[in-house]
Symmetry: C2
Subunit: 220 residues, 2 copies
DNA sequence: AAATAAATTTAGACAAAGCTAAAAAAATAA
DNA sequence: TTATTTTTTTAGCTTTGTCTAAATTTATTT
């Protein structure tokens, strides 16, 4: 795998995210995303095209090639693993991790990232609930939904917790719920919209409507 | 604290290390250290002088200013904390950590480094036995010596272990000795050159000459 | 369909950090 | 003390990634 500059990686990552929505990306969009000028974007597009990372015809918009996608997934993997590390190990708050991970993601040692992944226990979602590509660049496609929306006998992994108040965290800790927790919905009660949930071999716990509305999961 | 480019930081760090030996540094020395050309060094010297990080008169050699020293200590702190992390947490072998830390040291978030320091338990020596500057840039001056050379009633911190064989690690683990372990020499026996050592509140242990010759410490 | 507006690209500049080759200063030798 | 060698600096060029201003292409109106 070749090495790309910080700037190239930032362009590739931004294109990756923008094309997730629309399939194709425009010069102005990308300039906006990267807080740069359209002329600078055009320059970089030529370079990325020359390196076969991009499908691009002047004036016609662009999207990543298969190779470009691979590079993007590598950057996303690094970014999200570092975010997980910063949040879980270094106890950064959720609004601080993105900026620091923006720098760390460009340290490109593959061995570093694979060992970090192992050290963290192969997490599948970052603290924002976004899936972390695995060592082969495979990424879970399922999108985050609210725990409240799940039906009995569904299994899911907690990926995001909206309310970060101390009280909330107290409840979560008590119930052994955190990012990455695997759980299975057992019952739902119409009466108060509460649900019963099983986590591993722990006794079944009850989750109130209020709580369930603040927990986001990936169905599996 | 201002921000410096990766290149500036590498120059400053190299000057810091070179001037530890001789007090002052020459253009050729620095070019050799950084695997670059003397002409490139001169260019950077002018820039660092303009930023008041360097005392420099053309043709007369140079050394870091007080400000330059502060910057250098910051880089060294980051480098050594990352080395410690890579070795202790990610289980990198000792010959792999330097290269990766060369990249990580340039991620400049102060909060990241201070939290990493805390997460690691405020280590005072990196895996090579070199002291880690603390949050205020203070660095322990004492140099690494062989455990075998210590006399009774001396206290020291383990900073380096030469032989990394599995058998060696087995013995160390059994005796609760690792990088950072504080110990006190109690007795030495001329007969077999073994020594008795106390670690914290654990019972006194015996260390053979063979073992002591492979453990390096900082006297305190 | 022609006119206007918006988006995109090209052309030309600039700063950072490197290089080579030539000039200048300092150190060493004859 | 000259002459020569070594070290250091200067001058000018290159690449990467950015910018502004002008030109071009595409889209939108009237």
């Amino acid at each position: 795998m070749l090495n790309y500059s910080v700037s190239e990686e930032n362009y590739i990552k931004a294109i990756f995210h923008l094309q997730e929505q629309a399939g194709t990306v425009t010069t102005n969009e990308l300039a906006g995303e990267l807080s740069t000028k359209p002329a600078s974007v055009t320059d970089m597009l030529k370079k990325l095209k020359a390196k076969k990372l991009l499908h691009y015809q002047p004036y016609q918009g662009f999207r990543l090639s298969a190779d470009g996608n691979k590079v993007a997934l590598g950057v996303v993997r690094r970014h999200r693993l570092w975010e997980y590390f910063l949040s879980v190990k270094l106890k950064f708050s959720w609004d601080e991790i993105h900026e620091v991970a923006e720098d760390l993601e460009h340290v490109s040692s593959k061995k570093l990232i694979d060992k970090l992944d192992e050290f963290l226990g192969f997490p599948r979602f970052d603290p924002h609930g976004d899936p972390i590509p695995d060592i082969n660049g495979n990424i879970i496609a399922s999108k985050t939904i609210c725990l409240q929306e799940l039906t009995p006998d569904t299994r899911a992994i907690v990926s995001n917790i909206k309310d970060q108040s101390t009280q909330m965290l107290e409840v979560l800790q008590h119930k052994s719920i955190g990012i990455g927790t695997r759980l299975e919905i057992r019952r739902k009660f119409e009466y108060d919209k509460s649900m019963e949930v099983k986590i591993g071999r722990l006794p079944v716990i009850t989750i109130s409507e209020h709580l369930a509305k603040n927990i986001f999961v990936q169905a599996i």
